[in-house]
Symmetry: C2
Subunit: 204 residues, 2 copies
Amino acid sequence: MPKKIKTEEPVDLKEACIQVARDFIAEHGIENLSLRDVARRLGVSHQAPYRHYPNRDHLLAEVLRRCFQGFAAHLDARDRLDDPKADLQSMGRQYLSYAAQHPLEYRLMFDTPWPQAAEHPSLLQDARHAFDLLLGVLRRIHGTQASKRALIELDALYIWSSMHGIVGIMQCKLTDRLELSPQVPDQAALHVMQMILKAMDSHR
Amino acid sequence: MPKKIKTEEPVDLKEACIQVARDFIAEHGIENLSLRDVARRLGVSHQAPYRHYPNRDHLLAEVLRRCFQGFAAHLDARDRLDDPKADLQSMGRQYLSYAAQHPLEYRLMFDTPWPQAAEHPSLLQDARHAFDLLLGVLRRIHGTQASKRALIELDALYIWSSMHGIVGIMQCKLTDRLELSPQVPDQAALHVMQMILKAMDSHR
Protein backbone atom coordinates (compact mmCIF):
# COMPACT_ATOMS: atom_id res chain seq x y z
CA MET A 1 0.00 0.00 0.00
CA PRO A 2 1.38 3.44 -0.88
CA LYS A 3 2.53 5.48 2.09
CA LYS A 4 0.42 8.48 2.95
CA ILE A 5 2.64 11.54 2.99
CA LYS A 6 1.22 14.73 4.40
CA THR A 7 2.49 17.75 2.51
CA GLU A 8 1.35 21.29 1.88
CA GLU A 9 -1.90 21.34 -0.08
CA PRO A 10 -1.20 22.26 -3.75
CA VAL A 11 -1.98 25.87 -4.56
CA ASP A 12 -4.36 24.87 -7.31
CA LEU A 13 -5.90 21.73 -5.88
CA LYS A 14 -8.56 21.52 -8.57
CA GLU A 15 -5.93 21.40 -11.31
CA ALA A 16 -3.62 19.10 -9.34
CA CYS A 17 -6.45 16.57 -8.99
CA ILE A 18 -6.79 16.40 -12.77
CA GLN A 19 -3.10 15.72 -13.30
CA VAL A 20 -2.96 13.10 -10.57
CA ALA A 21 -6.14 11.42 -11.79
CA ARG A 22 -4.71 11.15 -15.29
CA ASP A 23 -1.55 9.50 -13.97
CA PHE A 24 -3.56 7.24 -11.70
CA ILE A 25 -5.65 6.06 -14.65
CA ALA A 26 -2.50 5.42 -16.67
CA GLU A 27 -1.26 3.10 -13.96
CA HIS A 28 -4.38 1.48 -12.58
CA GLY A 29 -7.12 1.85 -15.19
CA ILE A 30 -10.13 4.10 -15.27
CA GLU A 31 -12.41 1.82 -13.29
CA ASN A 32 -10.18 2.03 -10.24
CA LEU A 33 -10.10 5.82 -10.02
CA SER A 34 -11.44 7.22 -6.75
CA LEU A 35 -11.28 10.65 -5.12
CA ARG A 36 -9.78 8.92 -2.07
CA ASP A 37 -6.79 7.68 -4.08
CA VAL A 38 -6.33 11.08 -5.65
CA ALA A 39 -6.31 12.70 -2.20
CA ARG A 40 -3.82 10.10 -0.95
CA ARG A 41 -1.45 10.75 -3.86
CA LEU A 42 -1.65 14.48 -3.31
CA GLY A 43 -1.08 14.03 0.40
CA VAL A 44 -4.20 16.01 1.26
CA SER A 45 -7.14 15.06 3.44
CA HIS A 46 -9.69 12.64 2.02
CA GLN A 47 -12.27 15.40 2.03
CA ALA A 48 -10.19 17.99 0.15
CA PRO A 49 -10.99 16.91 -3.46
CA TYR A 50 -14.70 17.03 -2.66
CA ARG A 51 -14.41 20.79 -2.40
CA HIS A 52 -13.98 20.81 -6.21
CA TYR A 53 -15.59 17.57 -7.37
CA PRO A 54 -18.92 16.24 -6.01
CA ASN A 55 -17.80 12.71 -6.99
CA ARG A 56 -15.23 10.81 -9.08
CA ASP A 57 -17.33 11.10 -12.25
CA HIS A 58 -16.96 14.86 -12.17
CA LEU A 59 -13.21 14.53 -11.89
CA LEU A 60 -13.20 11.96 -14.69
CA ALA A 61 -15.21 14.35 -16.84
CA GLU A 62 -12.52 17.00 -16.30
CA VAL A 63 -9.78 14.53 -17.29
CA LEU A 64 -11.72 13.71 -20.46
CA ARG A 65 -12.24 17.40 -21.22
CA ARG A 66 -8.49 17.92 -21.16
CA CYS A 67 -8.09 14.98 -23.54
CA PHE A 68 -10.53 16.50 -26.03
CA GLN A 69 -8.97 19.93 -25.70
CA GLY A 70 -5.50 18.51 -26.36
CA PHE A 71 -6.83 16.42 -29.23
CA ALA A 72 -8.57 19.37 -30.87
CA ALA A 73 -5.45 21.53 -30.40
CA HIS A 74 -3.36 18.81 -32.06
CA LEU A 75 -5.73 18.66 -35.05
CA ASP A 76 -5.70 22.44 -35.22
CA ALA A 77 -1.91 22.52 -35.26
CA ARG A 78 -1.82 20.78 -38.66
CA ASP A 79 -0.29 22.31 -41.76
CA ARG A 80 -3.29 24.16 -43.15
CA LEU A 81 -3.77 23.80 -46.86
CA ASP A 82 -6.05 25.75 -49.14
CA ASP A 83 -7.25 22.70 -51.00
CA PRO A 84 -9.81 21.16 -48.64
CA LYS A 85 -8.94 17.58 -49.62
CA ALA A 86 -5.26 18.20 -48.97
CA ASP A 87 -6.32 19.78 -45.68
CA LEU A 88 -8.37 16.67 -44.86
CA GLN A 89 -5.27 14.57 -45.46
CA SER A 90 -3.23 16.86 -43.25
CA MET A 91 -5.85 16.43 -40.52
CA GLY A 92 -5.69 12.67 -41.00
CA ARG A 93 -1.93 12.69 -40.41
CA GLN A 94 -2.46 14.70 -37.22
CA TYR A 95 -5.12 12.23 -36.08
CA LEU A 96 -2.65 9.37 -36.50
CA SER A 97 0.17 11.19 -34.76
CA TYR A 98 -2.10 12.09 -31.85
CA ALA A 99 -3.12 8.44 -31.45
CA ALA A 100 0.54 7.34 -31.59
CA GLN A 101 1.77 9.98 -29.15
CA HIS A 102 -1.14 9.87 -26.67
CA PRO A 103 -2.42 6.29 -26.59
CA LEU A 104 -3.90 6.66 -23.10
CA GLU A 105 -5.81 9.84 -23.90
CA TYR A 106 -6.95 8.33 -27.20
CA ARG A 107 -8.32 5.27 -25.41
CA LEU A 108 -10.03 7.37 -22.75
CA MET A 109 -11.84 9.48 -25.33
CA PHE A 110 -12.94 6.76 -27.71
CA ASP A 111 -12.76 3.33 -26.10
CA THR A 112 -13.92 3.90 -22.56
CA PRO A 113 -17.36 4.14 -20.98
CA TRP A 114 -18.05 7.75 -20.14
CA PRO A 115 -19.34 9.24 -16.92
CA GLN A 116 -23.02 10.24 -16.99
CA ALA A 117 -22.81 12.89 -19.65
CA ALA A 118 -25.89 14.94 -19.08
CA GLU A 119 -24.22 16.28 -15.96
CA HIS A 120 -21.12 17.47 -17.79
CA PRO A 121 -22.14 19.92 -20.50
CA SER A 122 -18.64 21.37 -20.84
CA LEU A 123 -17.23 17.92 -21.64
CA LEU A 124 -19.81 17.56 -24.39
CA GLN A 125 -18.88 20.96 -25.70
CA ASP A 126 -15.20 20.06 -25.95
CA ALA A 127 -15.96 16.72 -27.59
CA ARG A 128 -18.20 18.40 -30.14
CA HIS A 129 -15.57 21.00 -30.84
CA ALA A 130 -13.12 18.28 -31.98
CA PHE A 131 -15.78 16.74 -34.24
CA ASP A 132 -16.59 20.19 -35.60
CA LEU A 133 -13.06 20.56 -36.92
CA LEU A 134 -13.75 17.63 -39.23
CA LEU A 135 -17.19 18.95 -40.14
CA GLY A 136 -15.54 22.28 -40.99
CA VAL A 137 -13.22 20.74 -43.57
CA LEU A 138 -16.11 18.77 -45.05
CA ARG A 139 -18.19 21.94 -45.34
CA ARG A 140 -15.41 23.35 -47.50
CA ILE A 141 -15.77 20.29 -49.75
CA HIS A 142 -19.56 19.97 -49.86
CA GLY A 143 -20.70 23.51 -49.23
CA THR A 144 -22.62 24.96 -46.31
CA GLN A 145 -26.20 24.59 -47.57
CA ALA A 146 -28.61 23.03 -45.07
CA SER A 147 -29.34 20.29 -47.63
CA LYS A 148 -25.74 19.11 -47.29
CA ARG A 149 -25.81 18.79 -43.52
CA ALA A 150 -26.67 15.08 -43.27
CA LEU A 151 -24.18 14.16 -46.01
CA ILE A 152 -21.43 16.07 -44.23
CA GLU A 153 -22.20 14.28 -40.98
CA LEU A 154 -22.27 10.90 -42.71
CA ASP A 155 -18.93 11.59 -44.39
CA ALA A 156 -17.49 12.72 -41.06
CA LEU A 157 -18.59 9.47 -39.40
CA TYR A 158 -17.16 7.45 -42.29
CA ILE A 159 -13.80 9.22 -42.16
CA TRP A 160 -13.61 9.05 -38.39
CA SER A 161 -14.59 5.35 -38.46
CA SER A 162 -11.91 4.47 -40.96
CA MET A 163 -9.21 6.34 -39.06
CA HIS A 164 -10.38 5.08 -35.67
CA GLY A 165 -10.60 1.57 -37.09
CA ILE A 166 -7.07 1.49 -38.48
CA VAL A 167 -5.67 2.89 -35.23
CA GLY A 168 -7.44 0.16 -33.26
CA ILE A 169 -6.62 -2.66 -35.64
CA MET A 170 -2.94 -1.81 -35.87
CA GLN A 171 -2.73 -1.51 -32.07
CA CYS A 172 -4.43 -4.81 -31.33
CA LYS A 173 -1.98 -7.63 -31.56
CA LEU A 174 -4.16 -9.58 -33.96
CA THR A 175 -2.71 -7.84 -37.00
CA ASP A 176 0.81 -9.04 -36.14
CA ARG A 177 -0.42 -12.56 -36.53
CA LEU A 178 -2.13 -12.40 -39.90
CA GLU A 179 1.12 -13.07 -41.79
CA LEU A 180 0.77 -9.90 -43.82
CA SER A 181 3.34 -8.95 -46.45
CA PRO A 182 6.26 -7.20 -44.72
CA GLN A 183 5.57 -3.71 -46.11
CA VAL A 184 1.83 -3.75 -45.35
CA PRO A 185 1.71 -2.79 -41.65
CA ASP A 186 3.68 0.41 -42.29
CA GLN A 187 1.56 1.36 -45.29
CA ALA A 188 -1.85 0.52 -43.85
CA ALA A 189 -2.76 3.90 -42.33
CA LEU A 190 -1.62 5.78 -45.43
CA HIS A 191 -3.61 3.42 -47.63
CA VAL A 192 -6.73 4.10 -45.53
CA MET A 193 -6.26 7.84 -46.06
CA GLN A 194 -5.84 7.33 -49.80
CA MET A 195 -8.99 5.23 -49.98
CA ILE A 196 -10.92 7.86 -48.03
CA LEU A 197 -9.83 10.48 -50.55
CA LYS A 198 -10.79 8.23 -53.46
CA ALA A 199 -14.22 7.70 -51.95
CA MET A 200 -14.57 11.46 -51.41
CA ASP A 201 -13.47 12.16 -54.98
CA SER A 202 -16.13 9.94 -56.43
CA HIS A 203 -18.91 11.62 -54.44
CA ARG A 204 -21.76 12.24 -56.89
CA MET B 1 -20.40 -15.52 -2.70
CA PRO B 2 -22.05 -18.09 -5.01
CA LYS B 3 -22.89 -21.37 -3.33
CA LYS B 4 -20.74 -24.31 -4.31
CA ILE B 5 -23.00 -27.09 -5.48
CA LYS B 6 -21.44 -30.45 -6.02
CA THR B 7 -23.05 -32.19 -8.98
CA GLU B 8 -22.12 -34.92 -11.39
CA GLU B 9 -19.14 -33.91 -13.52
CA PRO B 10 -20.34 -32.95 -17.02
CA VAL B 11 -19.81 -35.70 -19.60
CA ASP B 12 -17.74 -33.35 -21.74
CA LEU B 13 -15.93 -31.26 -19.17
CA LYS B 14 -13.62 -29.65 -21.72
CA GLU B 15 -16.58 -28.32 -23.68
CA ALA B 16 -18.54 -27.37 -20.56
CA CYS B 17 -15.61 -25.23 -19.38
CA ILE B 18 -15.74 -23.21 -22.61
CA GLN B 19 -19.45 -22.50 -22.24
CA VAL B 20 -19.16 -21.56 -18.59
CA ALA B 21 -16.09 -19.38 -19.23
CA ARG B 22 -17.96 -17.47 -21.92
CA ASP B 23 -20.87 -16.83 -19.56
CA PHE B 24 -18.50 -15.88 -16.75
CA ILE B 25 -16.76 -13.33 -19.00
CA ALA B 26 -20.14 -11.90 -20.01
CA GLU B 27 -20.94 -11.25 -16.36
CA HIS B 28 -17.59 -10.40 -14.81
CA GLY B 29 -15.24 -9.36 -17.59
CA ILE B 30 -12.34 -11.19 -19.16
CA GLU B 31 -9.74 -10.10 -16.63
CA ASN B 32 -11.56 -11.84 -13.79
CA LEU B 33 -11.75 -15.24 -15.46
CA SER B 34 -10.06 -18.02 -13.50
CA LEU B 35 -10.13 -21.80 -13.76
CA ARG B 36 -11.15 -21.86 -10.11
CA ASP B 37 -14.34 -19.89 -10.83
CA VAL B 38 -15.12 -22.09 -13.79
CA ALA B 39 -14.75 -25.19 -11.62
CA ARG B 40 -16.97 -23.66 -8.95
CA ARG B 41 -19.72 -22.85 -11.46
CA LEU B 42 -19.58 -26.35 -12.85
CA GLY B 43 -19.67 -27.82 -9.37
CA VAL B 44 -16.53 -29.85 -9.99
CA SER B 45 -13.29 -29.98 -8.03
CA HIS B 46 -10.86 -27.08 -8.40
CA GLN B 47 -8.40 -29.42 -10.07
CA ALA B 48 -10.77 -30.82 -12.69
CA PRO B 49 -10.42 -28.09 -15.38
CA TYR B 50 -6.63 -28.47 -15.23
CA ARG B 51 -7.03 -31.89 -16.81
CA HIS B 52 -7.93 -30.04 -20.02
CA TYR B 53 -6.38 -26.57 -19.64
CA PRO B 54 -2.87 -25.97 -18.24
CA ASN B 55 -3.99 -22.46 -17.23
CA ARG B 56 -6.73 -19.88 -17.77
CA ASP B 57 -5.08 -18.50 -20.92
CA HIS B 58 -5.54 -21.84 -22.63
CA LEU B 59 -9.22 -21.82 -21.74
CA LEU B 60 -9.51 -18.20 -22.90
CA ALA B 61 -7.86 -19.14 -26.20
CA GLU B 62 -10.54 -21.82 -26.68
CA VAL B 63 -13.29 -19.28 -25.97
CA LEU B 64 -11.75 -16.94 -28.56
CA ARG B 65 -11.45 -19.77 -31.08
CA ARG B 66 -15.17 -20.38 -30.79
CA CYS B 67 -15.78 -16.68 -31.36
CA PHE B 68 -13.74 -16.68 -34.56
CA GLN B 69 -15.35 -19.90 -35.76
CA GLY B 70 -18.82 -18.47 -35.18
CA PHE B 71 -17.81 -15.18 -36.80
CA ALA B 72 -16.40 -16.90 -39.91
CA ALA B 73 -19.49 -19.11 -40.15
CA HIS B 74 -21.68 -16.01 -39.97
CA LEU B 75 -19.71 -14.31 -42.78
CA ASP B 76 -19.88 -17.54 -44.78
CA ALA B 77 -23.65 -17.72 -44.35
CA ARG B 78 -24.11 -14.55 -46.42
CA ASP B 79 -26.08 -14.41 -49.64
CA ARG B 80 -23.36 -15.20 -52.14
CA LEU B 81 -23.36 -13.05 -55.21
CA ASP B 82 -21.48 -13.56 -58.46
CA ASP B 83 -20.40 -9.95 -58.70
CA PRO B 84 -17.50 -9.68 -56.22
CA LYS B 85 -18.38 -6.11 -55.22
CA ALA B 86 -21.95 -7.10 -54.48
CA ASP B 87 -20.53 -10.06 -52.56
CA LEU B 88 -18.30 -7.69 -50.60
CA GLN B 89 -21.37 -5.67 -49.67
CA SER B 90 -23.18 -8.81 -48.63
CA MET B 91 -20.23 -9.70 -46.41
CA GLY B 92 -20.32 -6.19 -44.95
CA ARG B 93 -23.97 -6.65 -43.97
CA GLN B 94 -23.10 -9.93 -42.30
CA TYR B 95 -20.24 -8.24 -40.43
CA LEU B 96 -22.65 -5.64 -39.08
CA SER B 97 -25.28 -8.18 -38.12
CA TYR B 98 -22.67 -10.29 -36.33
CA ALA B 99 -21.51 -7.27 -34.33
CA ALA B 100 -25.12 -6.39 -33.44
CA GLN B 101 -26.11 -9.92 -32.47
CA HIS B 102 -22.91 -10.93 -30.65
CA PRO B 103 -21.49 -7.81 -29.00
CA LEU B 104 -19.60 -9.79 -26.35
CA GLU B 105 -17.91 -12.10 -28.85
CA TYR B 106 -17.15 -9.14 -31.10
CA ARG B 107 -15.46 -7.29 -28.24
CA LEU B 108 -13.50 -10.35 -27.19
CA MET B 109 -12.11 -10.88 -30.68
CA PHE B 110 -11.22 -7.31 -31.54
CA ASP B 111 -11.07 -5.11 -28.45
CA THR B 112 -9.50 -7.33 -25.83
CA PRO B 113 -5.88 -8.16 -25.01
CA TRP B 114 -5.22 -11.72 -26.14
CA PRO B 115 -3.60 -14.53 -24.25
CA GLN B 116 -0.02 -15.29 -25.32
CA ALA B 117 -0.71 -16.28 -28.87
CA ALA B 118 2.38 -18.19 -29.84
CA GLU B 119 1.13 -20.92 -27.54
CA HIS B 120 -2.23 -21.20 -29.29
CA PRO B 121 -1.64 -21.99 -32.97
CA SER B 122 -5.19 -23.22 -33.50
CA LEU B 123 -6.58 -19.86 -32.34
CA LEU B 124 -4.38 -18.09 -34.87
CA GLN B 125 -5.56 -20.46 -37.55
CA ASP B 126 -9.22 -19.68 -36.83
CA ALA B 127 -8.56 -15.94 -36.72
CA ARG B 128 -6.72 -16.07 -40.02
CA HIS B 129 -9.51 -18.08 -41.57
CA ALA B 130 -11.99 -15.24 -40.89
CA PHE B 131 -9.60 -12.70 -42.43
CA ASP B 132 -9.08 -15.02 -45.41
CA LEU B 133 -12.76 -14.81 -46.26
CA LEU B 134 -12.29 -11.11 -46.91
CA LEU B 135 -9.04 -11.68 -48.80
CA GLY B 136 -10.89 -14.22 -50.95
CA VAL B 137 -13.48 -11.70 -52.11
CA LEU B 138 -10.73 -9.16 -52.80
CA ARG B 139 -8.81 -11.69 -54.89
CA ARG B 140 -11.89 -11.96 -57.06
CA ILE B 141 -11.72 -8.18 -57.55
CA HIS B 142 -7.96 -7.72 -57.97
CA GLY B 143 -6.85 -11.09 -59.34
CA THR B 144 -4.64 -13.72 -57.75
CA GLN B 145 -1.24 -12.65 -59.10
CA ALA B 146 1.53 -12.44 -56.51
CA SER B 147 2.03 -8.77 -57.45
CA LYS B 148 -1.48 -8.01 -56.11
CA ARG B 149 -0.92 -9.57 -52.74
CA ALA B 150 0.09 -6.46 -50.80
CA LEU B 151 -2.70 -4.38 -52.40
CA ILE B 152 -5.26 -7.01 -51.45
CA GLU B 153 -4.02 -7.03 -47.87
CA LEU B 154 -4.07 -3.23 -47.70
CA ASP B 155 -7.60 -3.12 -49.06
CA ALA B 156 -8.64 -5.79 -46.57
CA LEU B 157 -7.22 -3.74 -43.68
CA TYR B 158 -8.95 -0.61 -45.00
CA ILE B 159 -12.33 -2.34 -45.32
CA TRP B 160 -12.01 -4.04 -41.96
CA SER B 161 -10.93 -0.75 -40.33
CA SER B 162 -13.88 1.15 -41.71
CA MET B 163 -16.37 -1.49 -40.64
CA HIS B 164 -14.74 -2.02 -37.25
CA GLY B 165 -14.59 1.73 -36.76
CA ILE B 166 -18.25 2.36 -37.48
CA VAL B 167 -19.28 -0.50 -35.19
CA GLY B 168 -17.17 0.96 -32.38
CA ILE B 169 -18.19 4.56 -32.94
CA MET B 170 -21.90 3.81 -33.08
CA GLN B 171 -21.64 1.66 -29.95
CA CYS B 172 -19.74 4.22 -27.90
CA LYS B 173 -22.09 6.71 -26.40
CA LEU B 174 -20.17 9.66 -27.77
CA THR B 175 -22.05 9.58 -31.06
CA ASP B 176 -25.39 10.10 -29.27
CA ARG B 177 -24.07 13.40 -28.03
CA LEU B 178 -22.85 14.96 -31.25
CA GLU B 179 -26.29 16.37 -32.11
CA LEU B 180 -26.33 14.62 -35.46
CA SER B 181 -29.23 15.00 -37.87
CA PRO B 182 -31.96 12.55 -36.85
CA GLN B 183 -31.58 10.23 -39.86
CA VAL B 184 -27.77 10.01 -39.67
CA PRO B 185 -27.22 7.34 -36.98
CA ASP B 186 -29.36 4.81 -38.83
CA GLN B 187 -27.67 5.53 -42.15
CA ALA B 188 -24.07 5.66 -40.95
CA ALA B 189 -23.11 2.00 -41.42
CA LEU B 190 -24.71 1.84 -44.86
CA HIS B 191 -22.92 5.05 -45.85
CA VAL B 192 -19.58 3.53 -44.78
CA MET B 193 -20.25 0.52 -47.00
CA GLN B 194 -21.14 2.79 -49.92
CA MET B 195 -17.96 4.81 -49.46
CA ILE B 196 -15.89 1.62 -49.32
CA LEU B 197 -17.40 0.53 -52.64
CA LYS B 198 -16.74 3.96 -54.17
CA ALA B 199 -13.11 3.79 -53.07
CA MET B 200 -12.82 0.28 -54.48
CA ASP B 201 -14.43 1.36 -57.76
CA SER B 202 -11.88 4.10 -58.27
CA HIS B 203 -8.93 1.75 -57.78
CA ARG B 204 -6.46 2.60 -60.55
